[in-house]
Amino acid sequence: MSASTAPARRAITPPKRPLPSWRLPVGLAAVVAITVWAGISIEFTLTPLITDIGRGEPVVRGFLDPNWLFIFRVWDAWLETIAIAIIASLVGNAIALVLAFLASPVTNPITPFQKTMKAVMAVVRSLPDVAYGLIFVAAVGVGSLAGILALIMFNIGVCAKLTAETIDAVDPGPIEAADASGASLARRARFAVLPQALPGYLSYSLYVFELNLRASVVLGFVGAGGIGSTIRVELSRFSYENLSAIIIALFVIVFALDAFSRWLRKKLI
């Protein structure tokens, strides 16, 4: 009953298989080549995972026995970290909003100025947060002020880019309506663009705040205050029990903040 019992058909010649596009093989070859080069350069090997896993033992033992009290002993460092993150996100995101409006052709018709702003944003974004940390520690000394300033730069980089892209993609209808009613540029931005870009902007802002908590750990390493400084000290003392406690606490805080910002996002948007 199956189709193979069908009457014999004329022989067919399948079409010639077209030459595959050169892009895929060339791309794959490039990926392999870069991987080999990079692998050799950083002396990639997984053997320590087998041979030296024992060296991780004291670390693991320390981590399994967290010194819970330590979390509270450094409570001021926690407060400092959170304060740094709050200030840096509020200030950074506010500046980012202005920059985003200046960097989008939708809201800034002066092309050379707009292009310059876009380039400035790309440059700001290209430097990693530690670079800013080092610069500001040098400029204003060790402490949380350097951390705040560094995170502000970092936040501008992230938030301004995402917001500018949202502005680029807003629905042109309301803008045309505003133009048709003779609105000035500033009004058009305020009443036709901002309402459309706001949901995106708010969620990027909350997102940046979450990033800040993690980033401030890094910045503490270069002397920019907060819990990162504590982590560095404990690490140099090899007190993995204390480190473990801090990391677990950090984990809980990030999770709680994640939940909080999800809640806030739902409220706001």
Binding site: I34, T35, W37, A38, S41, I42, E43, F44, P48, L49, D52, I53, R55, G56, V59, F63, L79, E80, I82, A83, I84, I86, I87, L90, A122, V123, S126, L127, P128, D129, V130, A131, L134, I135, V137, A138, A139, V140, G141, S144, L145, L162, Y204, Y207, L211, V217, V218, F221, V222, G225, I231, L235, Y240, L243, I247, L250, F251, V254, F255, D258
Partner: protein, 300 residues
């Protein structure tokens, strides 16, 4: 709620409906201001130094610019440029290997975290693991797990970045899988394909472009992350950066930052155009293409 306005006679003056209450916004603004003020106090920052900062920073910029503007072919500036470039390339290598590890590990995990592939129990567990990884900064992976076993160096950095990338990449991959067109899945299943065959022929081809775009995006982020780990001693541009700041060699710092900026901008541009090509297809040639703008994933 209970007031019903009687129909208005034409020409009579009318009262506009009461504006919606601004109370919520006012309270929100007040709360934000309060939290901000509290943070300013609690941050324990040396605020007066903020006033000196512009002058000091201006001085730094001048010194750095002088370094950048020196003839790059003469000693010792040529040395600065080549050394920075070498280290930046090492950073790229760290980021590349890290991204590759992240991509390889996150791909299967993404499927296990997708509701339309894995059973609910597995999905919940894998998602929590991915969330946990996302919550931990890579620097902690590096110091806590990789350094003791692999020692101080680029390899530890690459592994830390790799493990850390798994969190975001796995999440984004699973979201891409969950949003595929279910039609091809159903037709493959209807023709007697096994579970693996359905994944291979109906799901993977649909998600691959998006997933590769995520990998590239993560590579851009990992370049910055590798600089961070360098400060710890995990190789790459970060290691020289902190050393230079210790000795305040501003001209050399200027050169190093310039290398970071230039290389990062170039890589971002290349990666961005590849991503665009993968998602939106080749340049227009009258062929139907996907119109919708694919939003960038969040830069986790």
């Amino acid at each position: 709620m209970s007031t019903i306005t009687p129909p208005r006679a034409p020409g009579r003056s009318f009262t506009p409906p009461p504006a919606p209450s601004k109370l919520r916004e006012t309270i929100g603004m007040l709360a934000v201001t309060l939290v901000f003020a509290l943070a300013v106090v609690l941050a324990d920052a040396n605020w007066p130094r903020l006033l000196e900062a512009p002058a000091v920073l201006g001085e730094f910029v001048v010194l750095m610019t002088q370094g950048v503007l020196q003839n790059p072919l003469e000693a010792p500036t040529n040395e600065y440029w080549t050394r920075s470039l070498e280290l930046m390339i090492e950073s790229l290598h760290i980021a590349w290997i890290g991204t590759l590890i992240g991509a390889i590990l996150s791909f299967p995990l993404g499927f296990l975290a997708a509701r339309n592939v894995a059973p609910p129990g597995v999905v919940v567990v894998v998602r929590q693991i991915l969330n946990a990884i996302r919550a931990i900064p890579e620097i902690i992976f590096a110091i806590a797990i990789m350094l003791p076993i692999f020692g101080l160096g680029p390899l530890a950095g690459a592994l830390a970045i790799g493990v850390n990338s798994v969190g975001t990449l796995g999440k984004l991959t699973s979201e891409a899988i969950e949003s595929i067109d279910t039609g091809p899945v159903e037709s493959a299943r209807a023709s007697g394909a096994s579970r693996w065959q359905v994944i291979r022929y109906a799901m993977v081809p649909q998600v691959m472009p998006e997933v590769v775009a995520y990998w590239l995006y993560r590579f851009e982020i990992n370049i910055r992350a590798s600089a961070i780990l360098g400060v710890l001693g995990a190789g790459g541009i970060g290691s020289i950066l902190s050393a230079l700041f210790n000795i305040r060699a501003w001209d050399r710092i200027g050169v190093t930052l310039a290398v970071i900026i230039i290389v990062t901008l170039i890589i971002d541009a290349i990666s961005g155009s590849i991503r665009h090509r993968i998602i939106h297809g080749a340049a227009p040639r009258g062929v139907r293409r996907r119109r919708a703008l694919t939003p960038e994933p969040p830069p986790v």
